[in-house]
């Protein structure tokens, strides 16, 4: 879609870790609003909070390796009018501190910004303990929580700035490895909106995070197969943009979802729920299918677990066949 100002995928595409965009966005948000503060659980460089810490040391709190404290100190900061971004690896926050987030942020209606980096199997050699796959499900089930999974570093930057202005608890999911930059500085981002990145009429591919680039590659391959795939990028998994998604599915009649996490409770789960109640259609979900990851190189793992354009393309053919 021309008005989305996407990058030209046919040119040499640059890649950057999505978390880098968070670091820049937090710094920018901090410059715009003195109430933006940050806290980290001993991963300040990894989560890219270091930019903010260097500029605003008096607005940064080093919590140490204590994620329960991270979330609840955040709730205390928010109670006093601060806009706290609290970061760690997703496996630990929101992995370890879910109840604290539930009670002191969500039920308590304190707008803590939970930032979980190193999500997905693309964390690579660190292995299953550190490859967070259940975070989307954990956060999506909580009332009042907003769940944001940006598709590249530029979108993460815009999402972070939007989060600073959002009065609700938010979860921002980040990835470790370099991800192709598919948007530009002009590409829109609004919390709660899904975007049609590639128009088509034969199948809807709904993707989030690192998998949106793979979905766009799959759409190119499908075009060569004579299939016009519509790619819907869903950077906000909750609240879900039901209008944009259902409009696409009513047109195409079949769906593939793609995410780098568990499909149970994840984007795949969310789309299955939406379709079942509103517009049942053939659906194939690409993602982690109720198992853990393991050590390996990121690309090796993504291929092994079927998290790539090739598998999205096969799934598209599968659901198109089921339409007939």
């Amino acid at each position: 879609m021309s008005n989305l100002h996407l990058a030209d995928l046919s040119a040499d595409i640059t890649a950057e870790p999505i978390r880098k965009g968070f670091g820049r966005g937090l710094l920018a948000a901090g410059k715009l609003d003195v109430n933006v503060v940050a806290a980290c659980a001993d991963l300040t460089d990894s989560t890219q909070m270091s930019l903010f810490k260097a500029e605003f040391p008096e607005r940064f709190v080093e919590i140490g390796v204590a994620e329960q404290n991270l979330a609840t100190v955040g709730a205390g900061l928010a109670a006093m009018g601060k806009i706290p971004f609290v970061s760690s690896y997703a496996a630990f926050s929101p992995g370890r501190n879910w109840e604290q987030i539930r009670t002191t942020a969500c039920l308590n209606e304190r707008a803590v910004k939970i930032v979980g980096s190193h999500a997905g199997v693309s964390v690579g050699p660190d292995g299953a303990t550190h490859q967070m796959l259940e975070d989307i499900a954990l956060m999506r089930v909580l009332p009042n929580m907003v769940v944001i999974v940006p598709g590249d570093s530029l979108e993460a930057e815009r999402a972070t700035m939007a989060m600073a202005k959002d009065g609700r608890p938010n979860y921002l999911r980040l990835a470790r490895e370099a991800t192709p930059i598919i948007t530009t500085a002009k590409t829109p981002f609004e919390i709660g909106k899904a975007y049609v990145y590639e128009p088509g009429s034969d199948v809807t591919i709904i993707a989030t995070g690192t998998m949106t680039y793979q979905a766009l590659l799959a759409a190119e391959q499908l075009f060569k197969d004579g299939i016009e795939a519509e790619v819907v990028h869903v950077p906000t998994i909750k609240p879900l943009d039901a209008d944009t998604i259902l409009k696409s599915v009513r047109k195409t009649g079949c769906v593939v979802t793609a995410e780098e996490g568990q499909v149970i409770g994840g984007l795949g789960g969310a789309i299955a729920e939406l379709l079942a109640e509103n517009h049942p259609a053939p659906l194939k979900r690409i993602g982690m299918l109720d198992h853990f990851g393991e050590s390996g190189e990121p690309n090796q793992l993504l291929e092994h677990f079927g998290l790539d354009a090739k598998h999205i393309r096969l799934a598209a053919h599968h659901v198109i066949d089921k339409k007939k």
Binding site: A66, T72, V73, A75, A79, K82, Q100
Partner: protein, 284 residues
Amino acid sequence: MKKQPIARLETIANDIRKDIIKMLEHAGSGHSAGPLGLADIFTALYFDVLKHDPKNPDWADRDILLLSNGHCVPVRYAAMAHAGYFPVKELLTLRKFGSRLQGHPERTRLPGMETTSGPLGCGLSQACGMALAMRMDKQTHRWVYVVMGDGELNEGNIWEAAMLGGKYRLNNVIGIIDRNNIQIDGPTEDVMPLENLKGKWESFGWHVLEVNGNDIEAVIDACAMAKTIAEKPVMIIAHTIPGKGVDFMESDFHWHGMPPDHEQAKKALHELRTLGGKIRGEHE
């Protein structure tokens, strides 16, 4: 709030205890021992120590009081009602459908309730977060008080916050531990020993005061002393008698999570009305 004589505060504490019994009997569920034991501390806080305004609960210069062990909230509800936050008669809606007085406190339902609590171990960290925000905003005229149970100290989250408070020397945090020695499964030292409790907090960088938590004047004095400690956060270990004021509940851990039935409530109210037989009951 105008300072009141200790004898007057003791009368208020007794009224709060009577309301706790009535509320719990009416609700048919809830915790008896903790709230009764905390009545003197909450009287001291709401009627002397805290800078607050019941008619303006969000007053920007107020002190903050967090109740970390949310199951003891009946004592806070009763103290708030007597302080003028809401009508005393509303206390009987405790735990009822549609009530602002939820079984465990919810901030968004009741003005003046500073946070939502129930799951244990989260209050001290929130107090530390609030104190950090106050420091960033150069607010040196406000204090954050946080009441915790002793059984609650089993939670790891507490000790994460203890480290943080010590590290940042959060001198506007005043913790109060309700050291009543009981928790649901039995005496604290059997369930999970806490001693040496004073030494634990001191080694985490806190200034520790010990006080008889059922002596209103001593609690007031301890809070005043705590505010003078500039270099560290302060933890007040307040030794209380669980079930205080009701003879058959005192120091019996079975009353931790149990409400009185009608006959027990009658007996308890009689004892509170007569101050344990020292005076004649009002209806005798």
